[in-house]
């Protein structure tokens, strides 16, 4: 009965983050993820870890993610921003020093190669990309931006996320400055004499921080934060259920090269300046398709889905307009149980003519048709400090 638990097929040796020994010492159940040996949960279990993050604070090791600096050859950060705008549909020039923005690398057909965070550190840009995409992203940046930027992957840094309503007080103990940061502020901070890059952001829907720390100091920083009784270590299992309740996309599942940012319901992340009629309209890979979709609509759309019963509806479940129809109108791309909602929750794609909030669709599961409500996201209100 445990056969379906094992989703790993890759047998190549797994990499370890600088916090690997701490995970093992903390009782983490280690699993392969994006080529790394990562904790899926700790002894508290996914349910408690999830709820603890929403009520106190959770510490996540996200060191497997890629950290890349874009250093302008001209010395002007604006030149790095304009160069990066060739690869993303976002307004990067408008990201002020000390601020961060969500972006997507697009391809020539408007599909998403990866999603990422871009921070302006004054002299250069700092990017955080997905673990599974980081080698391809680095090659993509080198192929397209080498004329304007040095592309510097920061392999010797760990990344720690501290998320939840007690994250600020836990971090402020070592770095009082962080209390003045707002959502999506980003910059260098000294945390207990460790030189870090801190952003007020995350992947849980909660207020919180992501902290880039030199690899050799990562464990002592993590241990110092975990010494606070409000802070528990949180594994990948709860990371996934938290981001799902927050309506946030998981790359490779909810967005990929077959979906555009508009289809992925990420049009909010494309500023006016890059759209038709904007100051720097287009000029990124796939602009023709993405701008046309922004103007005239897309054939499919990512939506939130709330199963009406108790059964979780998971990735891959086909969606239908009614209980008898044989014509598939979409599919679930992420789904599971939302511990804070105490109910199953999912997201998926529907043909746009069916993607109306409040209407009902049916998922096929074990030979049965189960009703789901198309719901606004996030499912759990976010608590960002704006």
């Amino acid at each position: 009965m445990l056969a379906r638990q094992d989703q790993s097929t890759d047998r190549s040796p797994l990499k370890r983050t600088p916090l690997h020994a701490l995970h093992v010492a903390s009782g983490g159940k280690m699993v392969p993820f994006a080529g790394y040996d990562m904790p899926v949960q700790y002894p508290a279990g996914v349910l408690r870890e999830h709820l603890h993050t929403r009520t106190a604070a959770g510490l996540f090791d996200v060191s497997h993610m890629g950290q890349i600096e874009l250093r302008p050859k001209s010395g002007k950060v604006e030149d790095a921003a304009l160069a990066l705008e060739r690869l993303v549909p976002q307004d990067i020039l408008a990201v002020a020093p000390g601020r961060q923005r969500y972006a997507q690398f697009t391809n020539e057909t408007g599909g998403i190669l990866d999603d990422l965070m871009v921070a302006n550190f004054g002299s250069h840009l700092f990017l955080v990309v997905n673990a599974a995409c980081k080698a391809a992203d680095e090659a993509h940046l080198r192929a397209h931006l080498s004329d304007a930027c040095e592309i510097v992957p920061l392999a010797d840094r760990a990344l720690i996320a501290l998320q939840g309503p007690k994250a600020e007080s836990a971090l402020a103990e070592f770095c009082p400055d962080v209390s003045t940061m707002r959502f999506m502020d980003a910059g260098p901070h000294s945390i207990g004499n460790i030189d870090c890059f801190v952003s007020r952001s995350g992947y849980t829907g909660e207020d919180g921080f992501e902290i880039s720390v030199p690899a050799h100091q990562a464990e002592s920083l993590a241990r110092a934060l975990l010494a606070d009784h409000d802070v528990l270590p949180i594994g990948l299992g709860a990371r996934d259920s938290l981001r799902l309740e927050a309506g946030l996309c998981l790359y490779g599942h909810d967005i990929d090269t077959s979906t555009t940012p508009v289809e992925g319901a990420l049009q909010w992340s494309i500023q006016k300046s890059r759209r038709t009629g904007g100051a720097r309209a287009g000029g990124f890979a796939g602009a023709d398709k993405i701008l046309a979709q922004l103007d005239a609509g897309a054939p499919q759309r990512r939506v939130g889905l709330k199963p009406e019963g108790r059964a979780p509806v998971r990735e891959g479940a086909p969606l239908f307009a009614d209980a008898a129809s044989t014509e598939q109108i979409g599919a679930v791309t992420s789904g599971g149980f939302g511990p804070s909602l105490n109910a199953p929750v999912a997201m998926g794609y529907l043909s746009s003519s069916h993607a109306t909030i409040g209407s009902r669709v049916f998922a096929e599961l074990r030979g049965q048709r189960l009703p789901l409500q198309i719901s606004p996201m996030p499912f759990v209100p976010n608590t960002y400090k704006r």
Partner: protein
């Protein structure tokens, strides 16, 4: 009354020609927090190794297979209402269903407690 085990981490309590079936404590510890259980319909005739029930944790769904053939006599509705019973009392209150044993010879292939302990060690 004897208790037997499968390599798939189910237990069977045999009383006469009735088998009560659940999942083992080892199985629940591997599954993590159980949030949903789907049970077979009473009266359904199950063949050995057929998917009979579903148990879902936050992160994944797993099938519970019929360890032997037989007709479903009774299911544990308490489990549908409170799936976390699987974590708190896998070997007791969290029984899944009762079968009328179709062929007692199928019990021969199952493990006793000592063999199961060795299997999960």
């Amino acid at each position: 009354m004897t208790t037997l085990f499968t390599t798939d981490h189910e237990w069977l309590r045999i009383e006469g020609d009735i088998a009560t079936i659940g999942v083992t404590d080892y199985a629940q510890s591997q599954l993590g927090d159980v949030v949903f259980v789907e049970l077979p319909k009473v009266g359904r005739s199950l063949k050995k190794a057929e998917a009979a029930a579903v148990v879902e944790s936050v992160k994944a769904a797993s099938d519970v297979y019929a360890p032997i053939s037989g007709e479903v006599l009774e299911v544990n509705d308490a489990l549908t209402a409170e799936p976390a019973l699987v974590n708190s009392d896998a070997a007791g209150k969290a029984w899944f269903f009762k079968l009328k044993i179709a062929d007692k010879s199928e019990l021969g292939g199952l493990m006793d407690e000592a063999a199961y302990k060795a299997h999960t060690a």
